[in-house]
Symmetry: C2
């Protein structure tokens, strides 16, 4: 199939697939729009017409992997449901190609406010909305402390995982997130 | 004073001061060993003899700002003591010049395993040791849940702050960390 015949969605998908393939092969630092365009069989202007930067293209490519993967089940047992969702999140965040490329993107966000804003608007905020909705339902059912501040939920639940992913860079396992979740539910304070 | 007469500690201090000054002026991306050497009034080989890379030099320069700033008081009230220490940590992490340069260093750690290892060995691990020691004392005094897993303490206490610092990039305030600390002590689960 020649470029002239490929439709918009096909092209978009081919470019994002090339981004993930090359990202995994080369790492984020060596990834270039030229190489992506060449792998996808398009001109680099075709890429730039859709994405203003390598960071924006990578973000969209990563989002294409995470769509709906991070939804919450609602079985009535909030700890089990959070556990299941966090296991899926961890499989995504810690695995290839998502993990190393996502970490590189967060690294880029430390220097590029545009990447930081896009990451938050398109990945973090939708995830936070889902988390708060699931926890609000749990609170309404008496399965969460009535005093728990839902505005803190995303930072408290995700913070320990991102800390391990970005800072200590130790393995993120299901067993680890289960321990974190149990500790967060029990609380650090002594029982009254 | 000429270079020939400056002693080792003086030179080291001058180079680290130049790193922080220039880092604040230019940002991490534009910071170079050449510019640092020039600002410190030394040759670049003098810098490279002490530090293998820009990341290593920046880490040492940042550590010179944080020394002893992150010690824990022990007044007997563990929540108050953690609060005071976390306020100081937040003032350091969120302020200039430490904050933006530290964020850049964590960004660098996403691509450079040497920077990641140094950051953990020299900044995170000593901090974790202090945190665990303070919490163990609190647990021994019955002021912490006897079940709280001290191995998780650093990730649970620091994770929400780093999440805000690195990911959402919203302001880190004393009021925010107080809310997080209260939520962590109370726990997410319903009261028995």
């Amino acid at each position: 199939m020649t470029n002239a015949r490929r439709s918009g969605p096909d092209l978009t998908e081919a470019i994002m697939r090339a981004t993930l393939e090359l990202g995994q092969e080369l790492g984020y630092a060596k990834l270039s729009i030229e190489a992506i365009a060449s792998r996808a069989g398009v001109g680099k202007h075709t890429v730039y017409r859709r994405w203003p930067s390598k960071g924006a293209l990578l973000l969209d490519s990563l989002l294409s992997l995470s769509e709906s993967a991070l939804d919450y089940p609602d079985t009535g047992d909030v700890v089990a449901d959070l556990g299941r969702q966090i296991h899926e999140a961890v499989d995504l965040l810690a695995g290839a190609p998502f993990g190393p490329l996502f970490r590189a993107l967060v690294g880029e966000a430390q220097q590029d406010p545009g990447v930081a804003a896009a990451l938050n608007e398109r990945f973090i905020a939708p995830q936070e909305d889902k988390t708060v909705a699931r926890l609000r339902a749990a609170r309404d059912q008496g399965r969460l402390s009535p005093d728990f501040d839902l505005d803190l939920a995303m930072a408290i639940l995700s913070g320990p995982l991102y800390f391990r992913l970005l800072v200590t860079q130790e393995p993120l396992t299901h067993a680890y997130v289960d321990r974190v979740l149990a500790a967060l539910f029990a609380g650090m304070g002594p029982r009254p």
